[in-house]
């Protein structure tokens, strides 16, 4: 949903896409990730985006973008059509969390989900100091944030267990985009998961 020029999670996602695979990017913005997956990985990409300005930009970027609202699910998309369904930094803005995760794994074999970790130590510090966190991965003030859901790696993994989703891989990044190998729920600012049924 938010667009930054170089996004660390894109490197990871790109490394998981094999040539010729079909990718659906939910909340694709101007299509930057898809453009990269098409150019670098030879993927066949589609995007879903709600905002008219982003749809316009994605069309200009040559992307197969479909204007639609994720809150209404992925009606019309057939079962198991995609190799990967990506939801990059958008899950925290979706109201119907379980439904969208279920829909991703209905239309795709794998769901790739990235989200800001609310339990990142700087966020904890901000709350300890009495203020809601504003950071690289949570760049909004509390009063203008599009984020509806505030959750941590542990929260997310508990939901995956509840929904019987298999975590195939998890990568955690700090604010500089470096991989975090220890204490991810404390040192990680952004988490990227590969999920399957």
């Amino acid at each position: 949903m938010t667009q930054m020029p170089e996004r660390a999670d894109f490197d990871l996602i790109a490394s998981w896409v094999q040539p010729g695979e079909r990718v659906l990017d939910l909340g694709c913005g101007d299509g930057s990730l898809l453009k990269r997956l098409i150019a670098e990985r030879g993927a066949k990409g589609y995007g879903v985006e709600l905002e008219g300005a982003a749809v316009l930009a994605a069309i200009g970027n040559g992307i197969n973008v479909i204007q639609g609202n994720l809150e209404q699910g992925l009606a019309g998309f057939d079962d198991q059509t995609f190799n990967h369904v990506v939801l990059s930094r958008t899950l925290q803005t979706v109201r119907h969390t379980e439904r969208i995760l279920g829909e991703m794994l209905r239309v795709g074999r794998e769901a790739v989900v990235s989200f800001p970790n609310f339990a990142y130590w700087k966020n904890r510090m901000a709350v300890m100091a009495g203020r809601m966190p504003v950071s690289e991965d949570l760049p909004y003030e509390w009063f203008d944030t599009p984020n509806l859901r505030f959750f941590t790696l542990l929260d997310f993994e508990a939901l995956c267990a509840k929904m019987s989703l298999v975590i195939r891989e998890r990568q955690v990044l700090d604010e500089a985009g470096r991989l975090v190998l220890e204490e991810p729920n404390f040192l990680g600012s952004l988490a990227v998961y590969r999920l399957a049924r």
Partner: protein, 372 residues
């Protein structure tokens, strides 16, 4: 930026008979068309714009005799406009069965030396596309850079990609549907009944009686017009406002909306041919590319090679966004190239003709991917 100025219609005559989907042959026919911009040496920059129910070949610019006779889609065609005539060669054609110069029910039937009238065959979207392919041959255009249309015009753009997959590189399918709903056919039939039951219709042979079924055509247009607008837009534009001196508890024009519809109906009935109207609505009703594929639209569209831009408008209830999404999802299922924009607009089905900046920007941005 100024439009393209004075334009002149041309006429192409075709002597090779055209086989029609409904059976029968049209022995020879004329197509009237206009072109804007310049066909490049590679003949790779041509865009065909297909018209809807009441449209014709005069899309842009104005005729030499009448500066007010501006083309019906002038706001999208011209230098610096989305269909940029500095870059593209645009072709507008009056469809077969039309009443603006191409062979149609009012033309002379060579077999009888009288107007065709009711004997003019019912032509389909497929037939139109076949006839337009003849025009492409005539112009030396091997493949269109794009075929574009709104409403019934969008159906033709879609059909082009199925009838001639190798001859269309992009299709812009706007405010269209893969087939009409029962409700849509119902509206069309009421319109047809208005014409067919007009005493001046004479079974379609009214030309020889020196009359025209103006009442029927007027009613047909009034009904159609209601379905092209949105409730909100009508409320905003007319509300329940009365005309001056109204409130007479009679049946003369009282409300502004009545005045508007009657004016639109009269204007249309004055210039349009009733037999053409009947055939245009039938072409709409019959269009259903999935029919031969067990209603499986994805299978029906699988042979298309073109990239698609599908556009729908939020307040369009005659060709609602849901119907456009059917096309989109069939293409996604097939792994075909498609982009879809759902434009916020208050103008109902007529939105596709409006000069709405975001909508036009979408068309402009899509056409950037057309290589010349």
């Amino acid at each position: 930026m100024a439009g393209i100025g004075i334009v002149t219609a041309q006429c192409a005559h075709f002597t090779q008979p055209l086989k029609l989907k409904g059976g029968g042959l049209l022995p020879a026919f004329d197509l009237v068309y206009e072109t804007y911009g310049t066909l490049n040496a590679a003949k790779s920059n041509a865009i065909l714009v297909c018209h809807a129910l009441s449209g014709h070949h005069h899309i842009a610019g104005h005729t030499a005799d009448n500066p007010a006779n501006i083309g019906w889609w002038d706001n999208i065609v011209g230098p610096g406009r989305p269909l940029d005539t500095e870059r593209f060669f645009i072709v507008g054609v009056n469809n077969l069965g039309g009443c603006h110069g191409s062979t149609g029910p009012a033309s002379i039937n060579p077999a009888t030396a009288k107007p065709w009238g009711a004997d003019f065959p019912v032509v389909t979207v497929e037939d139109w596309v076949d006839s337009q392919a003849r025009l492409a041959d005539h112009l030396g255009i091997e493949a269109w850079a794009a075929v574009m249309g709104g409403s019934l015009g969008g159906m033709q753009a879609l059909q082009w990609t199925l009838s001639y997959p190798e001859r269309v590189r992009h299709a812009l399918v706007i405010a269209a549907a893969p087939k009409l709903s029962a409700e849509n056919i119902a509206f069309n039939d009421v319109a047809r009944q208005a014409i067919l039951t007009d005493p001046d219709f004479h079974g379609g042979h009214f030309y020889e009686h020196g009359v025209r079924p103006l009442r029927g055509l007027r009613l047909a247009r009034m009904l159609g017009h209601i379905t092209y607008l949105s409730d909100d837009q009508m409320a905003e534009k007319f509300g329940r406002r009365l005309r001056v001196g109204a409130g007479s508890y009679g049946f003369d024009v009282e409300f502004e909306i009545e005045s508007y519809l009657r004016y639109q109906g009269d204007k249309f009935a004055g210039v349009f041919d009733a037999n053409t109207y009947l055939r245009m609505t039938k072409a709409l009703d019959y269009f259903d590319p999935a029919l031969d594929f067990d209603d499986d639209l994805a299978r029906a569209l699988a042979r298309a090679r073109a990239g698609f831009l599908v556009v729908a408008f939020t307040t369009d209830w005659r060709f609602s966004p849901e119907r456009s999404r059917e096309i989109v999802h069939a293409m996604v299922h097939n792994g075909q190239d498609v982009a879809y924009a759902e434009i916020d607009s208050a103008h109902g089905h007529d939105s596709f003709l409006m000069d709405e900046p975001h909508y036009h920007a979408v068309v402009t941005n899509y056409l950037k991917r057309v290589t010349l």
